[in-house]
């Protein structure tokens, strides 16, 4: 009977953690695969509006990104709280948009230069004025294909 008494020592057997690394590695690989490294750091607030009638954007090398919105909290002291345009890594003015698009276009491979899309990643609280100005500039340089980048969601989310 001593055999049975021994088991009543009250200690639970330790849970084996040998498979923990495997689980963590699995997660790790998921994130490594899913990660898209950002090309440029965002300097503006960028909460995109929601829409559900969306189309997928073309491959990444066929897209030129233009960001707009209020400067993020880090830059608010320097640049104020008025909505600004971000071109690559710095704030730009309306007049620079055209030159920026032309420069980006020239940097792409030749066969892609005619199929480029300009993706406008604009914060949802921005006023339309700045966007209209950007659109005018894009028309001037004949970059007519644009995409209002949005989150996937119901439009009613935009009204609260």
């Amino acid at each position: 009977m001593a055999k049975f008494n021994k088991k009543k020592s009250g200690e639970l057997p330790a849970i084996s953690t040998a498979s923990l690394p495997d689980i963590v590695f699995m997660l790790l690989f998921f994130f490594m695969v899913a990660t898209v490294m950002r090309d440029n750091t965002l300097m503006v607030q960028n909460t995109l509006p929601a829409a559900d009638q969306i189309q997928k954007l073309d491959k990444k090398d066929r897209v030129i990104y233009i960001y707009a919105g209020k400067p993020s909290s880090r830059y608010i002291d320097t640049y104020g709280s008025e909505a600004r345009i971000q071109l690559n890594d710095k704030f730009g003015t309306i007049d620079e948009v055209g030159a920026f698009v032309l420069a980006e276009r020239a940097a792409k491979r030749e066969e892609l230069q005619n199929v480029l899309t300009t993706a406008l990643k604009v914060d949802s609280d921005t006023k339309m004025g700045i966007i209209s100005d950007i659109k005018q500039e894009l028309r001037k340089v004949n970059a007519l294909k644009i995409n209002y980048t949005t989150r996937i969601g119901d439009y009613t989310q935009n009204f609260n």
């Binding site: 790790l28 997928k56 899309t117 006023k127 996937i152 439009y155 009204f159």
Partner: protein
Amino acid sequence: MPRKSPEVNAGSMADIAFLLLIFFLVTTTIETDSGINRKLPPMEDQIDPPIIKEKNIFTVVVNKYSQILVEEDLTDIKDLRGLAMDFLDNGGGIGEEACDYCQGERSPRSSDNPEKAIISLKNDRETPYKAYIAVQNELVAAYNELRNREFMKLYPSEGLTYFEADFIYNDPRTTGDQKEDLREKLSVVKKLYPQKLSEAEPSKVN
């Protein structure tokens, strides 16, 4: 006898993996890569604007208080899609301008046919972007719903709506025969309900 080499302690493996995992967790930003595609009108010299009948234009104004005015009446955004669809699908034309696939009321005071029907969207400089996107979304949705209907009527064997088919067509991973096949079918439906969405330059705030 060869000596057994000591086993490497793998206990810290989990720590290393966690470290990497946390790094990737922090740096990951799942980029949004979808949105509403639009084509801007080219900059042209002022040519005489074509004369368009008043009844063929559906004016939508979004003002700076995010209010929506359809044909000068204050409208709730929930009704916008329906109104736009009624307008596009009206098919009030007679004779050459008749529209045999339209299922609308055929009212003589609304559009002749989808080919003629133009939606004019206007906004203030002060209009919030999110309201503008919501309106754009609803107008595109109106076109998409009509196109869905026609697509499913013409190509029931596909088992897709226009919206889904277009999504597959635009997916960079779709290639070859399927893409060719879809392109043809999509363009037929697109022709039935061409997207004629004109954006006026915004009115200046006084």
